[in-house]
């Protein structure tokens, strides 16, 4: 009698647990693949202390570094906008196209400059001049928190 009573208490159903977790999993997979861009240039971010977290909403990324498939000894810096490498002169068109799709003015966006730490400042200055011409004045130098 006692044995039977014990058996009839149902174990808590955990059959929906995988479904819940899978749902979470799919959410994270979807949310993260959306902003992933295949890197065409190698960017090792520099370290800094006085950095802030950037709001993702109006963030536009510009990568700058050596191309991934560069031959040894080749050290030409390339600029990556979206998913292709482009020239400095293309930045203005890129900014106007991006702001048009986002429906904001260039002043509202923050341009995140992901520049390789071994890059030279000259090219960065050229990029900044183009951003000034495009009226995208809010920039940020991407960096990692120094230990």
């Amino acid at each position: 009698m006692a044995k039977k009573g014990k058996r009839e208490v149902p174990a808590m159903s955990t059959s929906s647990l995988p479904d819940i977790v899978f749902m979470l999993l799919f959410f994270f997979m979807a949310a993260t693949t959306m902003r992933e861009v295949d890197p065409l240039v190698k960017v090792q971010m520099p370290q800094a202390n006085e950095i802030t977290e950037l709001d993702k909403k109006n963030l536009v990324n510009i990568w700058m570094g050596k191309p991934m498939n560069a031959a040894k000894g080749e050290d030409a810096l390339k600029i990556q906008l979206n998913d292709k490498t482009q020239e400095v002169e293309d930045i203005r068109n890129f900014i106007s196209a991006t702001t048009a799709t986002k429906g904001v003015s260039p002043k509202e966006i923050v341009v995140n400059l992901r520049v390789d730490k071994e890059a030279t400042v000259g090219k960065l200055t050229a990029v900044k001049q183009e951003l000034r011409k495009a009226d995208a004045l809010s920039i940020s130098y991407a960096a990692m928190q120094a230990e």
């Binding site: 993260t32 950095i51 993702k56 200055t125 920039i139 940020s140």
Partner: protein, 198 residues
Amino acid sequence: MARAKKKAGEINSSSMADISFLLLIFFLVTTTMDVDTGMKRTLPPWIDPTEQQNDVDVNERNVLKVNVSRNGSIMVGTEEYRSNDLKRSAGHSRLSREVYHFLVDADKSNKKATEIEGATYDISEGLVSLKADNESKYKIYLQVQDELTHAFNLYRDDISRAVYGVGYNELDDIQAGNIRKAVPMKISEAEPNDQTKK
């Protein structure tokens, strides 16, 4: 007969949760890596070079010139700094201390009375003019920017303590905004045509 049916019907799915948890944790870990952090700056608006330029009149004494050369040495005013002077010990580097002292300089004439929360405070008019050689390394350039920001943040902390009695980091958004407005981060990033002049 009924017993046999029961045995065949159920597949143990308790490990499913473990597997999916493992996947979930994997995705959580790999995606936190691209949290965007950076140092924010505002560029000056574009001025057409063909147009008449009337440069903003800034008193020379209020300007600290920082020059990054291609071999990695840094000139601050007339003094030479090495990459070691950018390394922090006890929270500050030699460069950030120097810039901070430049900002809190006791000289009253380079300070402007600024109103914060109904009271007036003498705020430094100090401006840091940062120039870098076209061939200088971005890593060093950003380190210098980092130390300059640190110096300005130290100065903001001082002002914040004078106004609100607490550090800049402990202020709420509105108060921090007030301090930021009163003590702007005056770091001028020189344009390329400035660099060709030797």
